[in-house]
């Protein structure tokens, strides 16, 4: 099966997932039969407004978050040469969450907008994790990386949980945000996310060859004219930005950056030039499916997106960890 065909199949799968995400729900007048009609023809019906005002933003955000996080995970795995790295395991996701939590609970500190606060949190957490694990200077001790990431993540999350207890009213709101409940998301939030996704995709493609060469080791990279430190730094920065943007829009969604690159590698190989578009598509598809499932799992109640992704991603990580032959 040629590469083009695989891309096409993946794109088709993503489209189907998107349709499912749009269609599944408690309304009986929205179905696969009339979804296209409802999307493109304004007949003023309640069904139309449900689809366009409530579900479409949600679907868009889900897809974009998926793409962003998958790209972030891919970058982190390339940069750490560790197939088990991801934004959740390295604490970056949780750092972004902390950025948002701080911004929300102490509005006076929010000198920039929410997106940027999340990104700052992500960068800070990532920086901390990498520094503990040995810095961006090559000798990244794999076990230290994971343990450092988990600790940074746990610390960030403890602080986030702390902000719950500060204000009673905030508690339910924060809880739902922390589990990435995107049921009330608005179209306006999808806009910046799309921008970040586009930039992220472009930046990833530019770094693709660098990532490929990085996997050969620092010495070899240098010899081939690719500065490993610079590539690592840019890759980590990219991951932090994409993660931050996603967390700001939807809340922390775990493990997408782990699962999607893994699965895509099975089908698209190790070349990052091919992996990047695949991973973006795959990420979108996975989270769209998760969104659809979030409406089905406890029908007619909804389960937040983050919870679904964690329930899928954590066992996947466990199985991957058990089967990991080498640590680095």
């Amino acid at each position: 099966m040629s590469l083009a065909v695989r891309y096409a199949l993946l794109a088709a799968a993503v489209l189907i997932a998107a349709l499912l995400s749009l269609v599944i729900g408690p309304r009986s007048d929205v179905g696969l039969g009339n979804i296209l009609h409802l999307l493109f023809v304004d007949d003023g019906s309640l069904a139309r407004s449900t689809v366009v005002d409530l579900r479409l933003p949600r679907t868009l955000v889900a897809g974009l978050v998926g793409a962003n996080l998958a790209l972030a995970g891919l970058a982190l795995q390339a940069v750490t040469r560790n197939p088990l790295a991801s934004e959740s395991i390295l604490g970056i996701n949780q750092g972004a969450a902390l950025g948002v939590a701080i911004a929300v609970t102490v509005p006076s500190l929010m000198i920039v907008n929410l997106d940027v606060m999340a990104i700052i949190g992500a960068i800070a957490a990532g920086f901390l994790t990498f520094t503990i694990a040995g810095g961006l200077t090559g000798r990244l001790d794999s076990i230290r990386l994971v343990l450092a990431g988990v600790t940074v993540g746990a610390f960030s999350f403890a602080c986030v949980r702390f902000t719950f207890t500060l204000e009673d009213n905030l508690s339910r709101l924060v809880l739902s945000w922390v589990s990435a409940d995107i049921s009330a998301v608005r179209l306006a939030q999808a806009g910046p996310l799309a921008l970040w996704a586009a930039l992220g995709l472009a930046a990833s493609l530019l770094l693709a060859q660098g990532f490929n060469i990085l996997s050969l080791g620092d010495g070899a990279s240098q010899g081939l004219g690719v500065d490993p430190r610079r590539t690592r730094f840019l890759g980590a920065l990219l991951a932090a930005i994409l993660t931050g943007a996603s967390v700001a829009a939807a809340g922390p969604v775990m493990f997408v950056g782990l699962v999607v690159p893994h699965l895509c590698r099975l089908w698209f190989g190790q070349n990052h030039r091919h992996l990047i578009p695949a991973v973006a598509l795959g990420g979108a598809g996975l989270v769209l499916l998760a969104d659809a499932m979030s409406k089905l799992v406890r029908f007619p109640y909804e389960t937040p997106l983050g919870t679904i992704c964690a329930l899928i991603g954590a066992p996947y990580f466990l199985i991957a960890a058990i089967r990991a032959r080498r640590m680095a």
Binding site: S88, L175, A310, L311, F317, I322, M327
Partner: protein, 343 residues
Amino acid sequence: MTGTATVALRRHRDRRALLLIGGAAVLTLLAALWSLGVGAVAIPVDVIVNTLFNLDGEKQTYIIMRSRLPRIVLALMAGGALALSGTIIQAVIRNPLASPGIIGINSGAALFAVGMTILLPTVPQTWLPLAASLGGLTAAGIVMLVAHRRLLSAAHLALIGVAVGFVFESGVDYFLITSSDAERSAPLIWLTGSLWGRTWDHVGMSLAPLAVLAGMAMVLAYRLDLITLGEATATGLGLDVGRQRLIMLSVATLLASVSVAVVGVMGFIGLMAPHIARHLIGGGHRLLLPLAMLVGMLLVTLADGVGRAIAPPIEVSAGILSALIGAPFFVYVMLTTASEQET
């Protein structure tokens, strides 16, 4: 060096170690006394003494005997248990970044405890330590099963522990999300690690198990020394590494789980206490375990006291404080120590 000179040197070193342990014990007692006095109602020392020893003079019997003393006692017990657990785990995983949380114990205990509270609300709270212990054992058990089957390295074991922790965490989150506001408020607060509202009942249900487990931990001291030499060398010295690792991790798991059951998840005590103690007294576990235990007691007692003293009558939970102090401390330690050798 002559025989007598070496013996003298060893005695000097032992004396220093015993002084350290004695000093830590005194410090802990002082911290406990101080902690009895702070909070929404500040109580001076003489009143405390009067109340504790039933002397003549002003007393604050209710606050001290009913409200604060059980808290302090529990803080001591939990702090000691977590510290012992952390010391054992750091020896087995041979990594100073390891802690009870690392092999999923905290998450497992939390899951079973929260699950019990939400799914079986009619079951009395006294069963909580049992549920938490089962949860902790399940999580650690999964890790140990996998490690044993495949004779994993310590590093790989830690990774699996992290993964198991995530799985159980996601379960906890699921429970929290799908429960109503009323159902979830207690577990939520309890999850963050706190001594608020703890009574003599809590002390009663955890005293016996923790005392027994602490005793078992002390007996393991020499074996812990051997296991830090690595699986290869330890086997060469005649240690049945697989079996001993299982015993050690079981004791560590139970210590942490019972603690989680009564005070919730206090993540960083099991990480910090062994570190501090090792820095002061070296790596020999016969001395390290008691000192780490005292340091743990001191840390939790202080965290609880400071949490009440910061802005009375508001209470900042001990778990949060220990995380807020613990994490930067941990970062500082990691940044200043070289990478440990690993297999």
